[in-house]
């Protein structure tokens, strides 16, 4: 039976602040799941800690609300043990790029076939608005006692440098575009990363919905210009087409340069896509030939309540 959008929603009370950018992201994820027709019990949403951590409770698939900074570790473990699952991990920018930055980098090196979405709002919302890793140096949001003393991390650039093979950015108030990006990310064979700009209406009074919409940027003809633009509208070509150093380096460099754009023009869309790097499952298959047909989660480990693994050869080699 075909599933409808409503089937992917739970009846759990959503306690995000009115106007929170997170709503757009959860809607986009549900729309993407519905559009792809992924069976609810074949998908698992993993989330970190913070406002975004609650996402997994609002989506009617398997939902694993993990620990601060650690969502990628749980998600990768599940995907490696059961590669048939569709795995999507979500978390805030503090979660993924602050406390969890080490896992972010390591995940890029592994390229496990799953999707990671960062809800990027520049603040730690649930602890009342401290500066998060994407807030710029010297900026002062309203709940900061003094301006931010740290430089910001560049999520797109870090993902590219770490080896993510699909890197894109969405905007939580452009839900349809975000939904399309999520579908591309989930379908990508390898680790995909989505940096989603998501205004926090309560604590980030700098990068607000109006700011992204460019209400402060008015040209001579009194016309507003949204700061957000789409790379695809400018003919940006993010895809690595063949496996040569020149091609890969060119696509990586242009993505990195684009990732540095901020201020009055903020790119969204796909920055980089390389389907030629082997996903982790393929790397395991090289070692364990039947890994995909008989992964850890599918193996039968006993017969009549007793071990069915034959370890005689290993024991023979130790016998004297």
């Amino acid at each position: 039976m075909a599933l409808k959008l409503a089937d992917y929603k739970t009846d759990v009370h959503n306690d995000w602040c009115p106007g929170c950018g997170d709503f757009g992201i959860v809607n986009a994820i549900q729309m993407a799941l519905a559009e792809m027709g992924i069976q609810r019990d074949k998908a698992a949403m993993f989330s970190g800690i913070g406002c975004s951590g609650k996402t997994s409770h609002y989506i009617n698939t398997f939902g694993v609300h993990t620990l601060h900074g650690r969502v990628l570790t749980f998600a990768q473990g599940a995907k490696i043990a059961n590669p048939d699952l569709t795995v999507v991990a979500v978390g805030g920018d503090g979660d993924g790029l602050g406390i969890g930055a080490g896992h972010f980098v390591a995940a890029g090196r592994r390229n496990v076939d799953m999707t990671y979405i960062i809800f990027d709002n520049g603040v730690y919302g649930l602890t009342k608005g401290q500066a998060s890793p994407t807030l710029k140096l010297g900026e002062k949001t309203k709940s900061l006692p003094t301006p931010n003393t740290n430089s910001n991390v560049n999520p797109i650039g870090l993902a590219i440098a770490s080896g993510f093979t699909f890197v894109a950015r969405g905007y939580s108030y452009d839900v349809r575009h975000l939904k399309d990006l999520i579908i591309q990310a989930v379908k990508h064979k390898g680790l995909s990363f989505l940096d989603v700009l998501q205004p926090c209406p309560t604590y980030n009074d700098l990068n607000t919905r109006d700011w992204y919409a460019g209400t402060d940027l008015v040209d001579e003809a009194q016309k507003r210009h949204s700061r957000i633009y789409k790379l695809e509208d400018q003919g940006f070509e993010p895809v690595v087409h063949y496996n040569s150093e020149v091609e890969v380096n060119e696509k990586l460099s242009q993505a990195l340069i684009k990732s540095l754009e901020w201020g009055n023009k903020i790119p969204t869309g796909v920055f980089y896509k390389n389907g030629l790097i082997s996903p982790y499952t393929e790397r395991l298959k090289d070692k364990i030939p039947n890994y995909l047909e008989n992964p850890p989660a599918k193996q039968n480990i006993s017969k009549n309540g007793v071990s069915n693994t034959n370890i005689s050869k290993m024991l023979d080699s130790l016998e004297v």
């Binding site: 008989n294 193996q299 024991l315």
Partner: protein, 636 residues
């Protein structure tokens, strides 16, 4: 045949083949029917620092090492400086005669505190601070000396075999040392040749050159060395004997009991287990397609634990293996696993802490930490294996406990286990029963992962199971797994989870909780690898007509208070023996059983206990000459 109990020691710089020399010696002895208990000691270093191996060989079951060395073989000066005084009267030292003039000051790796103690000792005996000096002391102690120039053995051999390369091949020194030793104790030579052939079976050229060298050195010893009081004649071999290293017990247990996923981060002394699993990742399964265990090297122990939990959520038997510092990093996740009732097994090969501590040395320092690991109240099991043979079967039990009670299980092992090489009965995988508890085969109708049930354990679905959708959260949750802060539900959920501790004590058979070896007026309580030396020490005392009881604790948490209390009801004096500073198990015993510990025998020098020193302390206790706290010090 009369009783044979022989201890051989080989030492040398790390990277010089001490370990492979000891492997050859152990294997030859085991092949000849002897029981073997070998132990490796090494620095946290790749090359150059002193490492040594003691191999105890006997024609009866042994569980530990002794203090006295019967025969030492050394091809470097440091081994002589460090161990000359461990060789017993009537024992022997085979040494490189080219080293006699070496002064202590020219051995850079002799550390200052040791050198000072050695100098004080030699000066008090008016001996020069040289190899000749320490050998003189050994001779006066009644030790026979067997000098031989290792270099000239290579030179002669090089000429005889017309192989000029051999002349400078100092890495053959280990094989020379082993072969001289075996020649001296008249071990039949054919087994030595065969063993070298087996060990180097993949490199026939290397095997050949080693066999030639071994043959020459063996014959040299039989022809040139004076008679030695000790010999190792051929003996009756028991069938189905294994020669295993500690980490292989848990690794093989994991493979046999269906662990199919092991993420880990490298740490001494735990990594060997994971490397063994990965080396043997492809599995034969009876009447099934081939299986496999996916071993994943992660970026840190936090990730290892997170991945292990992720794997367990798919229904896969999942575990990780670590040591103190790594386990410390895992503890936040341990609480998550407890909160979400996830069956995972953490094999904890303890080493000596705190912090980096003595990273390659032994200790049982992490019992209280493991019992209390993680913030908040949640149920877990802490289980400790005594001997290596046990650890194979215990591993199977740990996975059953995890599945049946849906709790994280911490399986306590240690460095003494990990770097011991022992003979034991061939493991029997048919004795590994597999009980997955309430893991569902399929889900019909409405499903609630954390449903309240009579026994406090809910049916468990797995990620990807048809109709089995569930939610997990580190927050308090309702029966479906969604967040709640309702005070009444909170209490119900907390009670449900914590009731598991009683269920565990009721369900796990008594003999798996604590083992009695007989209880006497004086009775020992002990745990983990320390059991081995204690068993041997009690055996020695028994021969003198002194009976001492022993209870081995295995289920460390939840603590089996009633069972342990009833086992020890006839004991008047309780002696706690363990390898840490504060008598951690003794503290738990007092807290749970309500009885005081009368004597502690403790060791925290980083070296495992020998049965000799346990014997000495127990005897002092029985003779009422002991301090309340006996601290053991043996071992370089």
């Amino acid at each position: 045949m009369s009783s044979i109990d022989f201890t051989w020691l080989i030492g040398g710089p790390q990277g010089s083949g001490v370990e492979s020399g000891a492997n050859i010696f152990s294997k030859v002895c085991a092949e000849m029917g002897y029981q073997v208990f070998g132990k490796r000691e090494f620095y946290s270093n790749i090359k150059g620092e002193h490492s040594y191996f003691t191999v105890r060989v006997a024609n009866k079951k042994i569980h530990s090492n002794v203090n006295d060395v019967t025969l030492m073989t050394s091809f470097d000066a440091e081994t002589l400086f460090r161990h000359y005084d461990e060789v017993m009267s009537g024992g022997g030292i085979i040494y490189d005669s080219d080293l006699e003039d070496v002064k202590t000051d020219s051995v850079r790796t002799l550390d200052a505190p040791f050198k000072k103690r050695l100098h004080d000792e030699l000066e008090s005996k008016n001996k020069p601070l040289t190899i000749a000096g320490v050998l003189d002391v050994a001779r006066e102690n009644g030790v026979s000396l067997f000098p031989v120039s290792f270099k000239s053995i290579l030179e002669i051999l090089s000429e005889e075999t017309e192989n000029p390369r051999l002349k400078g091949l100092v890495r053959m020194f280990n094989v020379i040392g082993v072969s001289l030793s075996l020649g001296l104790v008249q071990m039949p030579p054919d087994t030595l040749q065969k063993t070298i052939g087996t060990i180097f079976s993949k490199k026939p050229e290397v095997a050949k050159i080693n066999q030639q060298t071994a043959n020459y050195a063996y014959n040299y010893a039989t022809a040139k060395f004076e008679a030695f009081d000790h010999s190792l004649p051929r003996t009756e071999k028991e069938s189905k004997t294994l020669l295993v290293q500690g980490f292989q017990g848990t690794a093989l247990g994991k493979i046999a009991c269906g662990c199919r996923f092991q993420p880990y981060y490298p740490i001494t002394p735990a990594s060997d287990e994971s490397v063994f699993l990965e080396t043997n990742e492809l599995l034969e399964v009876t009447d099934e397609r081939p299986g496999s265990v996916a071993v994943i090297q992660t970026e840190d122990e936090i990730s290892a634990m997170g991945m292990t939990i992720g794997g367990a959520l798919t229904g896969t038997r999942s575990s990780t293996c670590t040591s103190g510092p790594g386990f410390a990093l895992m503890t936040e996740m341990l609480g998550w696993a407890g909160m979400n009732e996830v069956p995972v097994v953490i094999t904890n090969y303890q080493r000596s802490g705190p912090s980096t501590g003595l990273p390659t040395r032994h200790g049982q320092d992490d019992l209280l930490f493991s019992v209390h690991a993680g913030h908040g109240d949640f149920p877990k099991i802490v289980y400790a294996s005594g001997e290596i043979e046990e650890s194979f079967y215990d591993t199977g039990n740990c996975f059953n406990y995890a599945d049946v009670f849906q709790v994280p299980v911490i399986h306590m092992m240690d460095k003494f286990h990990a770097s011991s090489v022992i003979t034991c009965k061939r493991f029997d995988p048919q004795k590994i029963s597999i009980n997955r508890g309430k893991l569902l085969e399929k889900v019909d109708g409405d499903y609630k992962r954390f449903e309240f049930t009579d026994d406090g354990v809910s049916p468990r679905s797995r990620l990807g199971m048809d109709n089995g959708i569930f939610w997990n959260t580190g927050d308090e949750s309702d029966e479906t797994g969604h967040i709640t802060e309702d005070p009444i539900l909170r209490v119900k959920m907390m009670d449900k989870r914590m009731s598991r501790l009683d269920l565990i004590l009721e369900s796990i058979p008594d003999v798996e909780q604590a083992v009695s070896f007989g209880v006497e007026e004086y009775s020992v309580i002990s745990w983990g690898s320390t059991i081995g030396p204690v068993i041997d020490a009690i055996d020695l005392l028994k021969k003198e007509g002194i009976s001492i009881g022993l209870v081995q604790l295995k289920l460390m948490h939840p603590f089996p208070s009633e069972h342990v209390s009833s086992l020890l009801k006839d004991a008047k004096i309780i002696i706690d023996i363990e390898a840490n500073h504060s008598g951690q198990m003794g503290k738990m015993f007092k807290q749970n059983v309500g009885r005081d510990i009368d004597y502690f025998i403790l060791k925290y020098s980083g070296r495992a206990m020998t049965c000799t020193e346990v014997y000495d302390s127990l005897k002092k206790i029985v003779q009422k000459k002991a301090d309340k706290r006996e601290v053991l010090m043996h071992g370089a």
